[in-house]
Symmetry: C2
């Protein structure tokens, strides 16, 4: 297992060389370096005796069907696009581990068909829309997406064509009925497992998410000539509300709330702020608790604005329901963790993943590996070899269980 | 008096036409429109029988010396430069009123020499340094200022030469011993008099001022994957401190504190803020109370940072002591207000003025007029005719008192 773990890590580092920017890992959807990744993955898949195709959405798909195995199959996958100046493991590791798991299954002579998918697009960098790859595989690709335009003025449709694929065939990328389960393995991208000194966790759900923009509007006044009691300070109002947001999230189990962005006008040291615009990012595994938190925060914002003689406006930018992972598969994962003497940690994912899109189509489960320092989307992103070994052990046990189940 | 008030207002509006930008009032130090202002002021001064000069710092100075008056004189002045997109009264009104007061003194046959000064630079727009005009008149002009460079790459020295003046003669701009008192009349630029339904006030002092930049540094983390208890949110820390600043200023008599500027990094809705940089502008008539407030705010910032595992840094950008106006002259003003049946309101000035610079050289006093809506540095800046009449009445009484005193 140690060899397989080392090999997965080595493959990630090898694929990191396929980048748009020398010295940094940046690999957007269907850019030339993605051809490099496809070339290397194809080579490895062929070595493993897999049949290889690239679907019309740019997803590379390898199928391993050992003698005696039915068409019913387990899908293992994650994405191979990256954010700008990325680390080497976000997404890619889940694909490389899929191939190691095929090799392990072959060595152990497990009779199960496995499809490994390298999703082409998850980060939403090139066309400002995420999950383009998994949308196609899940049969949730809206044809209108083909008109999206990237920063260079290229449409998604032309990008697909330029890559040598046929945009008219995207519907054919959809999984057939043979796919009975999906497993995504991904780095946690957060500090929870590290803080608990744990190696891996089974993901219970992808948290639901609301994004808002909020505006407090007062009056810009001279900072020297306007006494405190005659001010309508928009930033002071926003600051009071930011404290409310933080307090609510700290006191509410499972709620994550972030004010990540603030813009003040006129934003000068000697002028009382006239306008303060802030963002709100609210996440919870329970949609009703997220909705209740949002209502409470908007009520409090209105109260603060009224008391301070400010005007308050808010706008909803995104509202995404929580997506639970499949309970039966997740239980299999937890049992596999116990069988391998690992604590049966379950945790929600605060970030979106391909698994979220796939879950709408096929029973889906997900495993997280510890992220050292909680670091991700950064060149310092890393994994521990020990954790990669553990996730391979657990996933192998899981595959055996699925194989037994399919008999 | 009504005629004189109307004339002063009409003169302000006439001078507003001398601008660098059509449709907006923008008149920086020694730009061509200032020649227009000088031309018009010279005309008016000549009509009043004044002797007119422009000193080497670009200040226009008219002296009215009626028969029998000694060389001991009262100086009345304010500035004629403006901020970009200014109103018509900030500074200019104090000069126009000086000329009306000369006319009133002539009509009333008051035997006193009056010098009216149109200071060339107060706002600090062109060379990023304020009070250039009054510094020269007060004998506080540092020769190093001549090397300042404006946005077009012109040095202050060349700007003076281009205007037809001799930078070598700046020292000669200093007031001689004949100047025994200075009076500046200026709009309040704040909402206090309006909120109290008062026409005018005598200024007790120019508040001392500290400007700081402060930095809270935490860790930028993924807003979805970082639970609340593992965050080091720089903005949440800054927001907590902004509330402390506001509370202290509200609870401390005479303290004015403003956080006008905030910059967050990376400033994205889905990233926990890693850095929050904020400004602090702190003003008080008492230097010791200002220093105590600053110490308290820095102590609290350090406490907040320590508790939140943030790093905190601060940098002092400006520290300017409070400047009291001359007590004897201010008492004359208050008595003149009472003599004219006006409430004897005294108030500090939160903003800097030429009077602050002049006070270091000559006993100086200052009168504020109500600013409708508290508006200034804006095209909507206005004055009420009734207030202009009142300030002329009070200043005339003040001049009579000074004249009697000089006998």
């Amino acid at each position: 297992m140690k060899d397989r773990a080392q090999n997965a890590i080595a493959e990630c580092l090898r694929l990191a060389a396929f980048t748009e920017e020398p010295g940094r890992i940046t690999r957007r959807f269907l850019t030339p370096p993605m051809q490099g990744v496809h070339g290397r993955l194809r080579e490895r898949m062929k070595e493993l005796g897999m049949s290889v195709t690239v679907d019309a959405a740019g997803n590379m798909r390898g199928v391993w069907q050992p003698e005696g195995a039915s068409k019913k199959r387990l899908v293992i996958g994650s994405h191979v696009d990256t954010v700008p100046d990325a680390g080497a493991y976000d997404g890619v590791l889940g694909v490389c581990l899929g191939l190691e798991l095929v090799q392990i299954a072959a060595e152990r002579k497990i009779t199960i068909t496995i499809e490994v998918i390298a999703f082409s697009e998850e980060e939403g960098v090139r066309f400002s829309v995420p999950f383009i790859g998994s949308r196609a595989v899940a049969g949730r690709f809206d044809g209108a997406l083909l008109s999206l335009i990237d920063a260079e003025g290229v449409t998604l449709e032309d990008a697909i064509r330029d890559y040598g694929l046929d945009p008219a065939k995207i519907a054919e990328a959809e999984l057939d009925e043979g796919a009975v389960a999906v497993l995504e393995i991904h780095i946690e991208q957060g500090p929870v497992l590290e803080s608990e000194k744990l190696s891996i966790a089974a993901v219970t759900d992808i948290a639901g998410q609301t994004r808002m923009s909020l505006l407090f509007r007062g009056h810009a006044n001279h900072a020297g000539t306007t006494p405190m009691h005659l001010r309508h300070d928009a930033l002071a109002g926003a600051a009071e509300w930011i404290a409310v947001v933080e307090r609510l999230a700290r006191e509410t189990d499972g709620l994550i709330a972030t004010v990540g962005k603030i813009e003040v006008d006129p934003n000068a040291g000697n002028v009382v702020p006239g306008v303060a615009a802030v963002s709100l990012d609210l996440r919870h595994s329970s949609d009703s608790r997220r909705a209740a938190a949002l209502e409470m925060l908007l009520t409090r914002a209105n109260e603060i604005a009224r008391r301070r003689n400010l005007r308050f406006e808010s706008k909803r930018l995104m509202d995404q329901a929580a997506v639970p992972m499949d309970e039966r598969l997740t239980t299999f994962l937890v049992e596999a963790m116990e069988a391998n003497n690992l604590p049966p940690r379950r945790m929600p994912s605060g970030a979106g993943h391909d698994a979220m899109v796939m879950a709408a189509r096929v029973p889906t489960a997900m495993l997280f590996l510890r992220s050292p320092g909680g670091v991700s989307h950064h060149p310092d992103e890393a994994v521990r070899e020990e954790d990669v070994e553990n996730v391979l052990r657990v996933a192998s046990t899981f595959i055996e269980r699925i194989a037994a189940d399919l008999k």
